[in-house]
Every structure is written in structure tokens, then in C-alpha cells.
Symmetry: C2
Subunit: 715 residues, 2 copies
């Protein structure tokens, strides 16, 4: 197959065979798939294309679940706080939750975990201080203090699998509510194995079984009121992995007796964005083991049936962790990630698996994930596709993937010829990039960057979900910008610090809000502070953004203040004098068009802290020499082309590279150099035509680029 076809998965649609075959030819598809809601007809199955079939292991087993309701998936829930105002305090457990998602698990093994908390005093009530009234579904709190607020934490079955629930609610589906099966129960696991065996026998045309995904969905707790439909959602959190059996096995294995409070955390739950304690990390590790144990068995069944197994990196992916070192043990043949952004392309590409496929947005659905029209009146799917593709393309200049795909109802493309045409261009660009990567990796700058956060390499190239779900986290902006830099970027955790992770790193990057998993919080132990301090003093460099290493209780808000020359004033410097300064910036870092968000409370701690840039009278970029090393502090960061360019230059500056290759004159132009193919790639992410030059191998290469154009120039 020539490089002008292949590497593309088309969603076929029964009833639209002609269109399916026409687009398969036009777009050079070498694989065809069904989607949630569509099927493939014999006319499509017999065209010589590889056939992907979707299976969701935990859905579609309502009969079994009705017969074995204890194998429903569960979660801990916590009611809202109820203030005792002088009458009987009855707390209706499910009152604030979405009707249909949950059912109280009032069984004996569940009840042992229930907790009533006095949230005013942070005190756990004894079991005889309250009573569950099953008929009313409420807890009556009998021993109350006037004006204190109380919550009830309890175990609930999840009786409506969340993706099914989303589709019913958003797209008006009317079918039976699907329930989620928990394969941790031996009887459920046995059933699931038999079910998959049968499925495999019934799908002889299928070459590739596409798991969507494994067993546990990311947490998605919905609320009763439409005005606040989502109570808690976190793409990377393990709240939906809980059951009395899992809790017992965990205690046997690790010695940790988990309580409801470990999960509900004052009613706030444990967001991936917040610092994680040892117990939570142990729980995640344990779940990963259990998921691997069951998942591996399913994959081996697929292989025994002579088929390949790909897995979708979304929905019920919790416990799978494609970036963990144990992911290879599943034996998956491919990983599929749906992508809007550059970082998601890197996230997929980073996993150790033979094949990486990106499922593009927009889906072939009337409405996009954000709720705006796509393939429906008012929609411009070709503009959406381009908007996402230019982000993804930046990342694909640095790291390649093997395939692209679409999903949804192919028939919807009929009324959008601009989209069909844009896909021609997009696929041609992709195939050229893929060919270059096949011939050899692109060149990188010399500066090696390590991003430090709570999750380390487990959550390389991701925070939790899509960009728009993480916009408030400064690290999201940083990671998206990083995804397109021709640099060695790695992600490390705090355990890695003492294991020598900084030995072959030039710049340590820490970006996050105080208390966040990204800033590090209490993981900034004395030992971590010592390691980083020593490393910088000896010649390393830190780039700290917003509130890196913030921990309460010390003499400075930032535990790295001595390295950064900067602290954050959260009130502690209310009566203190500030260093006066004149800002002056090295020419290399002069920020044309870049704009760093100011942050109230940025506070210079050292007379050697040099303000490079200020905004509205507040310092936004500060350099500090420390021993043989140095640091730069940024008050914030938003991902825009000029800001990404500034970030790129700062990293190079800290790495000692101040005449680097690959920095095009225009911020919107990204550059890659593929030495094995002797090819320069230049990609314009912007809507303006651009003319300029870019240094490659020390010489200036001129360019002229149309809006959004990518050019491949043989040297």
C-alpha cells in the first residue's frame, strides 16, 4: 500500500453502503469499523478492508445483572451537608443525585462502611448515633449538636452505566438503561469470559476487537438539579472501582482499611488535580493489578480467536493506565485515543504498544462534545476538524502515530462536502508525516526537560481529560505547548527524584496551583527539597510556574523559594516591604506578542531575583541565579502561539541554548527536521499567510506558507 493510502479507519454505516465504499476509496481507508449506534452490513464487511468491531465488556449484560445484582458496579457517595436547625434531622440519601444513576446498597457488607460525619466539628458519629430507615431511603441522625452540619457517606450501586446515561440524556436515546457489570466478582468474571468467547465466535469477519475500554469508567456523578447536572467528574479518578470485595482484597493485600471518608473526602471526593496521599496511590496500584489480571485474560481470548485487540483510551479506561510500565503485560496490539489537542496525540504516542491510532474530532454526530452543532444546521465540521488538526499536527511533527480514524454516522457527511474535502487534505498531510517518522525520528534541540508532578510518568502528557476540562490548571496550558516542541520532554514523579531522575535533565519544570497535584503539595518533603536544591546549586535549572512547591506551614509559601528567589504572598507579607526593581529582559527572551497572566502576591525573596518582565506593575517573569544553576519563575501561562514560543525559548535559555535550530520567525510556524529523510517540515497553525525563515542546521531556511499550510522541503 502506498503512502498515499492506508493508515485510516472509516466508520461504515449499514444502509449507506455506496457512500461508505466511495469514501473508503476516496480517503484510502484500509479499515472499517462499526460505532456505538451503527453496524456494518455484509456489503461492507466483504471489501477486503480490515474490520474493527467495538465491544464494551461491562455493558449489555442486564439479564445477568438482574439475576446477580450484587455484581453491579458501586461507588461511595456523600450527601450534601445538612444543618441541624432544631427539628428531626432526616437525610434522604439520594435526594441530590440524578434519578436513575444510583441505588443505595443497604446490604450488610455495605452498611459497615457507612459514615455519618459532623462536618462542623470534623467528627465521625458512632453507629448508634443514627439509624437507616430503608423504606424512606433516609438516615435519621439522632445524636445531633444544634447548628452543626452533617453528611452521610454510603455505598451505592450504579444502575445506569454512565456513557449509556450520557447518550440517553444528551442524544435522546430511549433504549433500556444499560447497567455496569463489575468483573471483580468471580461469578461476573466467569460470565464475562464466556460472553466474550461467544462474541468472538459470532464475529468471524472481525479482525480487530476494539475494547471500549475495560471495566471502570472515569468518575461521573450526576446531580438531581438541572442547573447543576454534574456533581463531580474526573477523567482520571478511581471512584468507580469500589466494592466491598475490592475493599476487602485491598485490606488483605496492603493492610490499609479504607473508609468511606478515604473516598468521599469531606464530600469533595479526591480529584486528580489535588495532591494524592499514599493510601490513594496504593488503592490505584491495587486496582491496576486487578484490572490487568482480568483484562489480560480477555485479550488472550481475542488472540486465541486469531484476532487482534485494540483498546480505546477513554470511557472505562480506569485501571488500564496505558502509560504505566505494566501496560505491555496486557498484550494489546493497538491503542486508540480520541483527540482534540496536541498533548493527546503525545499521550497516545507515548504508550508502549505496537500501534497508535488517533480518533479525530468532530465525531460524525449532529452535536459536538461541547454541545455545539457539528453535522447539523449551524455547524462547520470542516472548520472544527481543521482547528483540532492543526493542534494535533504540531505534536505529530515531534512524535508519530500509525493511524487516524473517525467515528459516528458516516451518512451525516453527505451534506458537508467541505468536510469531505478537508479530510482529503488532512489525510494527505498525515500520510506524509507518517512516512517521515517511519524513515527516522526528527531532530531535537539539546535541552532535556523533565516535568515534575504527583503522578509522574503514569500521567505523562495528560492531566485529566480534554483541554477544555482543564483550562483552569496552568499545567494543562504548559503541556499542550510542550507537545509541539522538538525537545526531549519527560514526566517524573517525586519518587523519581531520589532515584536520580535529574541526572540527565537540563530543566526541571514545575507548574501548578497551590495544593494541586501539579504543584506537588505535601510531596515536597525535606528530601525532595534537598534533592532539587542541590541539583540546581550544582548547575541545574528550574522553571517554576504560578505556585510551584507551595506547602502550608513553612517560612515561605513555596518550598523552593531559595532556588526561585520568589515566594507567593497569600497574606503572610501583609506588613512587609517589597523589593523595588527595574525589569530588563535578555534579548533572546523578549516576548513579542506574548502575555503572561499576572498573579497577585508574587513576592521577590532575594536581592538577586531579576525581574525580566512585568505586567500592570506585577512581576511576571523572574530570573534567579543559585549557585552554578538558575531558575526562571513565571506568574502564569496561557497557551497561545506567542506564549508557547516564549515558553520554548525559556526552556532553551535555561538549557543554555540561545542560538537554537527550529525556531521559525513566526510564532505560528512549527518546524521539524527529519535528518534521515533530509526533509524540513514547516507547519503554519494560523489563519494568516506567513513569510519568514527558520534556522535549521545553523542556516536560515526561508519559507512562505499559506494559512494552515504544511510544507515538506527536501534539503
Amino acid at each position: 500500500m502506498s503512502s498515499l493510502t492506508g493508515g485510516f479507519t472509516l466508520p461504515g454505516e449499514a444502509g449507506h453502503e455506496d457512500l461508505s465504499l466511495e469514501l473508503a476509496r476516496r480517503w484510502g481507508a484500509d479499515a472499517i469499523r462499526d460505532s456505538d449506534g451503527t453496524s456494518l452490513s455484509p456489503a461492507l464487511l466483504d471489501q477486503g478492508m480490515v474490520v474493527y468491531s467495538t465491544v464494551c465488556p461491562i455493558r449489555g449484560h442486564n439479564d445477568f445483572l438482574n439475576a446477580h445484582p450484587h455484581t453491579l458496579q458501586q461507588t461511595f457517595l456523600c450527601t450534601r451537608p445538612h444543618t441541624f436547625v432544631g427539628e428531626t434531622l432526616d437525610i434522604v440519601l439520594l435526594e441530590d443525585f440524578f434519578a436513575g444513576q444510583f441505588k443505595v446498597n443497604a446490604g450488610e457488607d455495605s452498611r459497615a462502611y457507612w459514615q455519618v460525619m459532623d462536618r462542623t466539628s470534623n467528627v465521625l458519629l458512632s453507629q448508634d448515633a443514627w439509624e437507616y430507615m430503608e423504606d424512606e431511603g433516609l438516615v435519621r441522625v439522632k445524636q445531633v449538636k444544634p447548628w452543626h452540619s452533617y453528611t452521610v457517606s454510603f455505598l451505592a450501586y450504579r444502575v445506569w452505566e454512565e456513557i449509556s446515561m450520557y447518550n440517553h440524556t444528551t442524544n435522546g436515546w430511549q433504549a433500556e438503561h444499560l447497567m455496569p457489570l463489575d468483573p471483580i466478582w468471580p461469578e461476573a468474571r466467569a460470565y464475562l469470559v464466556e460472553w466474550l468467547k461467544t462474541w468472538l465466535e459470532k464475529h468471524p469477519h472481525t479482525s480487530i476487537v476494539r475494547f471500549t475500554s475495560l471495566f471502570y469508567n472515569f468518575v461521573w456523578i450526576w446531580a438531581a438539579e438541572e442547573r447543576r447536572r454534574i456533581l463531580f467528574t474526573d477523567w482520571a479518578s478511581y471512584d468507580f472501582t469500589v466494592s466491598p470485595l475490592m475493599l476487602n482484597r485491598f485490606r488483605e493485600k496492603t493492610g490499609y482499611a479504607m473508609s468511606a471518608e478515604d473516598f468521599v473526602n469531606k464530600g469533595l471526593y479526591n480529584s486528580t488535580h489535588r495532591v494524592a496521599g499514599q493510601k490513594k496511590i496504593a488503592w490505584m496500584n491495587f486496582v491496576q493489578e486487578q484490572v490487568l489480571d482480568i483484562g489480560r485474560e480477555l485479550v488472550s481470548l481475542v488472540h486465541k480467536a486469531g484476532k487482534k485487540a485494540y483498546v480505546f483510551y477513554d470511557d472505562s479506561w480506569v485501571g488500564l493506565e496505558p502509560n504505566s510500565p505494566r501496560f505491555q503485560e496486557y498484550g494489546f496490539d493497538g491503542l486508540i485515543k480520541c483527540v482534540f489537542s496536541g498533548f493527546e496525540a503525545r499521550l497516545c504516542a507515548n504508550a508502549r504498544v505496537p500501534l497508535h491510532e488517533l480518533r479525530l474530532h468532530p465525531y460524525l454526530f449532529p452535536v459536538g462534545l461541547g454541545g455545539s452543532p457539528t453535522f447539523s444546521p449551524g455547524g462547520h465540521p470542516e472548520k472544527d476538524a481543521r482547528q483540532y488538526w492543526v493542534r494535533i499536527r504540531r505534536a505529530l511533527l515531534v512524535e508519530g502515530v500509525q493511524r487516524l480514524g473517525l467515528g459516528g454516522y458516516l451518512s451525516l457527511t453527505r451534506d458537508y462536502p467541505e468536510f469531505v474535502q478537508y479530510m482529503d487534505e488532512l489525510l494527505a498531510e498525515f500520510r506524509q508525516l507518517k512516512a517521515l517518522h517511519s524513515a527516522g525520528k526528527p531532530a531535537l534541540n539539546q535541552t532535556r526537560v523533565a516535568v515534575l508532578h504527583t503522578w509522574g510518568s503514569l500521567r505523562a502528557w495528560t492531566l485529566s481529560g480534554h483541554f477544555h476540562e482543564n483550562e483552569r490548571q496552568v499545567l494543562m496550558h504548559v503541556v499542550e505547548a510542550l507537545s509541539g516542541f522538538p525537545m526531549d520532554v519527560r514526566f517524573i514523579g517525586f519518587d523519581d527524584l531520589s532515584a536520580g531522575a535529574l541526572d540527565d535533565v537540563d530543566v526541571l519544570l514545575i507548574a501548578g496551583e497551590a495544593g494541586s497535584a501539579w504543584s506537588g503539595g505535601e510531596l515536597w518533603t525535606d528530601e525532595a527539597v534537598e534533592t532539587v536544591t542541590a541539583w540546581v546549586y550544582g548547575g541545574g535549572a528550574v522553571l517554576g510556574i504560578k505556585e510551584p512547591s507551595a506547602v502550608p506551614g513553612f517560612n515561605t509559601t513555596l518550598r523552593l523559594a531559595q532556588v526561585l528567589g520568589v515566594d507567593i504572598d497569600e497574606g503572610r507579607y501583609a506588613s512587609h516591604g517589597a523589593w523595588q526593581y527595574h525589569s530588563a529582559c535578555p534579548a533572546f527572551l523578549e516576548a513579542n506578542g506574548a502575555s503572561l497572566p499576572e498573579h497577585q502576591g508574587v513576592w521577590l525573596t532575594s536581592k538577586n531575583a531579576d525581574v525580566l518582565l512585568e505586567k500592570d506593575g506585577l512581576p511576571v517573569m523572574i530570573e534567579h541565579a543559585f549557585g552554578q544553576g538558575k531558575s526562571i519563575y513565571l506568574s502564569g501561562f496561557k497557551d497561545t502561539p506567542p506564549n508557547a514560543r516564549l515558553l520554548y525559548k525559556i526552556l532553551l535559555y535555561l538549557g543554555g541554548e540561545t542560538s537554537p535550530d527550529f525556531i521559525a520567525q513566526d510564532d505560528a510556524v512549527d518546524c521539524a527536521w527529519f535528518p534521515d529523510s533530509k526533509t524540513i517540515v514547516l507547519a503554519n497553525s494560523g489563519e494568516m499567510p506567513l513569510t519568514g525563515s527558520v534556522p535549521v542546521l545553523g542556516t536560515k531556511v526561508p519559507y512562505q506558507l499559506e494559512p494552515y499550510q504544511i510544507k515538506f522541503m527536501k534539503l
Copy 2:
């Protein structure tokens, strides 16, 4: 004396007798004073005016102090943190402090208090882990951990009284550095008593001894580097009251053994703006007792000499606390406060003392406190005077004082005839207001407001220092706005809550940043939460501004979230869904021209939280019904006329008054009604002529006011 003269203290100036007498007549002065740097000649003393003479009890005793150096005042200091980077760790104690302000107290009774702290681990080093090398003035830390940071806390003599230091440094004074005497030592106290007796004998012309002030200056620690001259300054803090003798007496009295760390607090010291612990409050109480004990003796000497004693409410006022219930025990005859703002007028007027005098700004100095020219080229002292006066005048509509005064070099007025003329107007306005207050108090609205904060009535009508020193504290803006409302406003502390302070209050106001003394921090005990919750539920109303009742460690950031319907997201809601809302405002609160600063992280916690106003997509005013009561939350507040008007209306709204008197049509117009004099006063604070009306006794009174004009209208 008619109401057209008197009530005014003129600074006389020897060498300028004619001018002094001319201005005394023109401005109707009934008292004449010397100032720091000027003296009165016989020609001025013999004019029949009351003579004020300034004494500063702690300054001007260098001979005694040279002979008794242990009676110098002292303070705890803490070095900056020094990171151990692999060589000898020598910390030079005074390296970072202003040369000349301090001298290490290396005496035995001092050394017992020294502390070397590992700030990385928050650990105190044992005494044998370090050594003081007196000749080099340094501490050598011998037991160090690599890459940890260390500080030394120590006692230092203050060898340059801070006001003397300020004048030398700012105004180029060249005289001998004056040292501060600590009268806590019996020998110093005996000396001081004798000195005052002598002084009284030598000043037969003096009618009024004006103490500037008593013994302990507000803390003002200067730094070595010009780029950051002020290390720590806090007008209301007790750091300069420390000595081994005071520490010992305190331990004997209270049982608390204070350490250096209690004062230096990780090197941050204890700002008045931060939440205070019990030990700090006990220390302040103890110092107040000691100061009262000595101060009362000095006042009685003045009285024995047939003179009156006034005290200046600034400089060495620490321990005096004119708003404490014990202030009357001094027996002072008058209190003098220098004022820029309305709240300072109320602060002075609030003290229980027979006479209140405001010393106006600008001082008759070439340069103002802020460093800008006043009576020197480029200066416009008449504009400065008007700017301050219209602020002060607002407050004087509500609460009267008996006198005004000026200070400084009278001769400087010679080149500023506009200033001289403006003083004519200002004094005429003041005397009319004074006459009204003498005849009877102005009417108030019915709503009674209590402001709750750490310091309660001790710090009624103040935070710490002038407005411009507190601009970052939201409560400063609120208090300044409150100073001109015709309302019953009181200030209460947390101890007052349980003592029934809310029984006769309509609105409880809490305004402050998290962790601040004004928000309340850890003083929000369960009991405080219960009291306020119960009170609101029963019909009370809370106005919460910015981060009221914020305390770490609970299920909500704000401990009053259940009352306010609002919480602050400092990261805890990173994965949570927010309540959608439509904002709608009651007509009475519609905010023409008002603008509330938005605050990132304002988070609705209740479906009953109604957003009244939003800004840039963030809610800035939220109402919440709770039981029979309610609350309003504001995301921030800046004092401007329209914002002050909005605040005034919010308080009335919460108090149930929605057709109140005294609200003029224009935000810049304040109104007072003096029923005993049957006089309406209308004051325009703005630079525009205004025509409108104001409801008084339910009828609309029309007005027409020139810029800055005040009108007195007899009904």
C-alpha cells in the same frame, strides 16, 4: 468664644512671630503649639492662647542610656534564611538590617532566648549545635543538614529611635541619633519620672502637655538594602515592647514562657493583619497593663503641675490602645490623631476621653508622608488638604470632634495663599459641624451593624495605620465607607459573640482575606459558627465580603458557607460542577456606577443562592435565604462613592430598611439630619456641581451643591 473661632491649634514658629500671630487671628486659633523641629518664642507664648508643648518620653535621654545601656529598648530579630551549600555556615546577625538601627544584645539574659531554626524541617536546633562569635557578630551553625535553610533569632537593642531615624533619613537631619528608653526597667522609670518633673517645672507657659506618645513605637524594622528599605512595619504591632525583664514578668504573671519564635514567627513576625493566637493576645494585654502603670504616673505628674495631658495617637502609641476600656484610667484630658481619612476621624472620636483633636494633613513640611511635594515646588497643598478634608468631613457628619490642628513649619504657608484661604473655608465648615454636634446628635438609620474581627472593639475604626498602608485589605475599604454612614456601627470580637453581642444587632459584617485577622481564621471555633448560624437562622443577617470565616481543614473553605450559600474554591472544586444561574437584582440594590471586584473561585453551594450581580461571568453579589434570616456575599469591595452607596444600601436592605432617609440622589452627596438643631447638612465630596434631592423624615429635600460644597439647611 463664638462658634466662628476656637477649636483650632496652630503650630507657632519662632522667628516668624508676625506670620504666626496673623494666621492665629485669621484662623481663629485658641491654642498654639511647638512641633518636632520648631519652638515657640516669648512673643508667641504671651498672646493669651493656650500653649501645647510636645514631649516624647522615650527620646532625648542619650546620656542616661549611655550610662545604663541595658535600659535601651529591644526587639527580637530573625535573619533571612541561609541555605547550607556545603561550606561553613556563618550567619552574620545584622547583615540584612539597616546600619545603625540595631545592636546585638549578647548578654546572658538575652542569649537564653536565641534560637537557631532549621526552616526546611521546621526544627529548633539545640544550643550546642551552634556558636556565637561575638567579635564577628555571627552565629556559626555547626550541626547542619545539606541544603537545609537556617535562621538565627536573637534579641537586639534598638539604638536609634525610629522616628528620629526616619527624620534623619528622609529629611536629612544631622543631629545625634536619639536612642529609645525602655521605662520597664525600674531605674529607667525613676529617671523618667524625675526628668518629667524637671521638664514641667521648666515649662511654666505650657498649659497642655502633648505626649508623643508614650513608650513603645509601632514596629518598623528597616533593612540594609535601599531597594527594600522596609523589612517589616505594622502600626498596631507589639514587637518593640520586648525585653528580658518584660518576658520574665510576663511568665510570672501568665505562665506563658515566650520564645523568640513566638515573636519572629518563621521570620515573618506577627502582623496585625494575621490571625492572632492566645499567647499574642495575652502578651498585648500584659504590655497594656505595664504601659498603663507607668503612663498613669506620668499623667498624674502633669496634673499635679496644674497642666492638662493630651496624648498623640501615633508613633509610640503601642500599649496605649485608646479604644480599650482601660484607656480612661490614664486620666488623659485629650486625644490627638493625625488623619487623612474618615475612619481615622471616627477612630479618634470613638475613644472615651473629654477632648478629641484631629491633626490635619498635609503637615506644613516640604514633602508629604507619601514622598510627594506639598509645601515645595510642584506641590498643591490646598488640593491635598481638600482631598483629605472631604473624606474626614463625611465622618464628622456622623460623629463630632472638638478640635482641629496643624503641625510643622508655619512659615512654609507664606508661598501658598490658596492653602491659607482653603483653611478659612475648612475651619468655617468644621465650626458649623461642631456647633451642631454640641446641640445634639444627628439622626441615624435604624439598621444596626456589627463588624466582627479578631481585635473587636480594641481596634474599632482601624486596621493598622493609614488607608494607603492597608489598601490590600478589603476591610480597610469597608471601614472607610462605613465611617460616613448615618448608622449605628460597632466592632465586636469573637469573645463578644458568646456574650450576646448579636442580641441588638441587625447586620453582622465580616470582610477579609483568608487567614487574616479580619476574616477571623481559627477564631471561627465550632462555638462561633454555632452562634452566628443560630442567630441568622432566627432572623439575623450577615454581610460577608471576600473570604469571610475561611479556615483550612473543613468541608468548605468558608465556615459560614451554610449561611452564605457561597464558598471559595481554592482548588477543592477542581472537578466539580458549578451551579448555573441567571443574575437578577432587587431594584433597591441596583448598582449605578458601582463596581465590585470579582474574585476567582467564588462558588455557589446552594440552589437557594441567588446571584444578584455578576461581572465578567463571575458572581460578585449573592443573596441567600437561611431560616428566618439571610445573607449577602460580596466578592470584594473598593471604596468609591458609588460603591460606598451600594454598601450603604446593602446594609439597609439586610436591616429591612428599603425606604430609608438620608440617601441622596447623588452618590457623592452625604446627608446628616440634626433634629435638635432642625438642620439638614448636605456635603458634596465630588468635583462636579450636583442637583438632586434627598429624603429626610420621609419628604424629599431638594439640593443644589457646588463642587465640594457643604450646605446647612434649617428646616
